[in-house]
Symmetry: C2
């Protein structure tokens, strides 16, 4: 699709994967996609859909420096460096400015770098459908995942009327719903089963340059101004001014700033397996399991053996063996110079440990 650009958003740090993830090694660099780094899998999913020269990666300065190690050969001219972490809205503004400079009517797909999505064919089909909808140069398109459990960690999209008879199906968006409590999540999933109303918000978007610029002006005028300033600075080739405009942009997510206020939003019901790989317990969904239910993510020569051990999650990299003997429901991580052991049900609280590591003066481990 010759006027389609893609922006891989790779700004996250992923403290919930410590000690596998570190400051210069965020979640999207981890070999969580069948042994490949998530970001590389995200890039490869675009092959044949987006011309190579029109794929961008938006990331922070530290990760930008580490990128060649994970994606050798990716052109640095297609790396958009966010001078500071300001959530997703300024990232979208920066990417829009960069792409508009090439093609002011381009279509843009915005994609998180650190999700697992499969199969590729279904992913590309859903993206093509979004591109077709966005071709009106006014619609914003989001992608909704069919929920498989009452997740409280995801936002939901409430579907409105069906747009047309084309497959995959697309609806107008009635409403975005933030991460629900458990009871509400159960209700959402029940309504999905009975009427198909609620879908998980995948965080993937498609829109045209004119549509997103108009939606920014409408939803958050400060953001719109920042986007204009970035475009203007880019036309002058003034990198310092681009950075300055980025730093002035409101620190807010694109969902809050734009999506929830936009007038014409469509949701494509994405028939894909999708996981945001939020923390180690996600490995129970995306990684292979042995007959005793131990989920293992092993890369670069790591191996695993167990005796009398059930339902553990093991993540290891490098030539080393993790041996479990008579333990259940643990997360065991062995990467580089660190080993972590914690109960599975506590793995979502890893942030607390990371903060403790920092407070203990061991930032060298982060």
């Amino acid at each position: 699709m010759h006027d389609l650009h893609a922006v891989i958003m790779a700004g996250g740090s992923g403290t919930r994967f410590w000690p596998a993830s570190r400051a210069a090694r965020p979640k999207q660099f981890l070999p969580l996609s069948g042994g490949r780094p998530l970001i590389r899998a995200t890039l490869e999913r675009l092959q044949g859909l987006v011309p190579e020269g029109q794929v961008w990666i938006a990331t922070n300065p530290v990760q930008a420096r580490a990128l060649p190690g994970v994606l050798p050969g990716f052109p640095s001219s297609q790396v958009l460096v966010e001078p500071e972490a300001r959530d997703t809205a300024p990232c979208v503004a920066l990417a829009t400015a960069a792409i508009a400079a090439r093609n002011p009517r381009a279509t843009i797909a915005m994609l998180p770098a650190d999700h697992v999505v499969a199969p590729v064919e279904a992913f590309q089909r859903m993206l093509r459908r979004g591109v077709a909808i966005a071709a009106d140069q006014t619609s914003l398109v989001t992608f909704g995942i069919e929920p498989t459990f009452p997740a409280t960690g995801y936002g939901y999209v409430e579907c409105g009327e069906l747009l047309d008879a084309v497959e995959p199906r697309a609806h107008s968006v009635r409403r975005f719903r933030e991460k629900p409590d458990r009871a509400t999540a159960a209700q959402f999933v029940a309504q999905f089963i009975s009427q198909g109303t609620f879908l998980w918000n995948s965080g993937i978007f498609v829109w045209s340059v004119p549509a997103i610029l108009a939606a920014m002006q409408l939803g958050n005028p400060d953001l719109g101004l920042a986007a204009e300033a970035m475009s203007e600075a880019m036309r002058r080739g003034d990198a310092a001014a681009v950075d300055a405009a980025f730093r002035r942009a409101p620190k807010i997510s694109i969902d809050y700033a734009v999506m929830e206020k936009a007038q014409k939003v469509a949701v494509v019901r994405a028939g894909v397996q999708w996981d945001d790989v939020g923390s180690f317990p996600a490995l129970e969904r995306i990684a292979p399991k042995d007959p005793a239910g131990n989920a293992t993510s092993l890369a670069d020569g790591a191996s695993f053996l167990q005796l009398q051990s059930r339902a553990n999650i093991v993540y290891a990299e490098g030539r080393r063996t993790v041996a479990l003997f008579g333990v259940d429901n643990l997360v065991v991580v062995a990467v580089g110079d660190a080993v972590l052991v914690c109960p599975k049900e506590q793995a979502n609280e890893l942030k607390a440990l990371v903060e403790y590591v920092r407070a203990a003066g061991r930032s060298d481990l982060l």
Copy 2:
């Protein structure tokens, strides 16, 4: 003491410390004595008591090759290589033959390489007392540890009459008692508390060359013959014949073959802290603990941090950090290319895991 020789018995493999211990790295090579290898601490405990040229190490061929890495500068002429594992009696015969060739009336202290004993002064005092008793050239001397709990993993010595008024106290041995069941062990400890009758058998011995040779002839004539054959072959400088005689010696412990049948055995009540460091749980007795009761043995740059974790045992070597988050009563080991996690109460069964590792075709890890 110019006629005192010492033999450090370093034949054990220590599968109960896997993956810290490996085939070429037995328990006595592990830095379990305040960061120093146990065998080095054993050697250092003899300084000032036994002339350097009269300290011997008896070990197997694999460990003999690895010895210079742990004890740089130790003379290879003082290493006695046991051609195969045949328990302790042939080891004693070999050492006796080697020392008798130098001094047929020498006194010999036999010391396991892999125990923790402190303080040095008390250790040397007890050994001197043993040497004085053995000076009659007929007594065998063993050393009894004051029991602190009803151990079922140790043998016991039942004290007979007091030999004399000298300190530390020494008794004739009434009887050796094998590793007792729990009830018997409790009885032994109760009797120690009320009458001082039962002591732990430390596995340390002192005797003269004539006394041990006579006791071997009496207790196990085959062993006596093997010792004679080794002596004879050594006089001829025939290493192959020494090996052959060793291989023909009965495979038996010195306790069964000699001590339990000897006529004149004394036990010195050893006022030392002593631990045979039988498995990882021993670290709770000999290693430092944090306020949450986590016992840590860290060497060569290893570090430990924990949040909400209690009563764990952590063993790590090398520049790495073990982080525990919300776990209790685990053993966590990180050494070289392996990580082990198991519950504390299962750490004594590690042999089963080691056998499984072998059966799984991973002898490279052993």
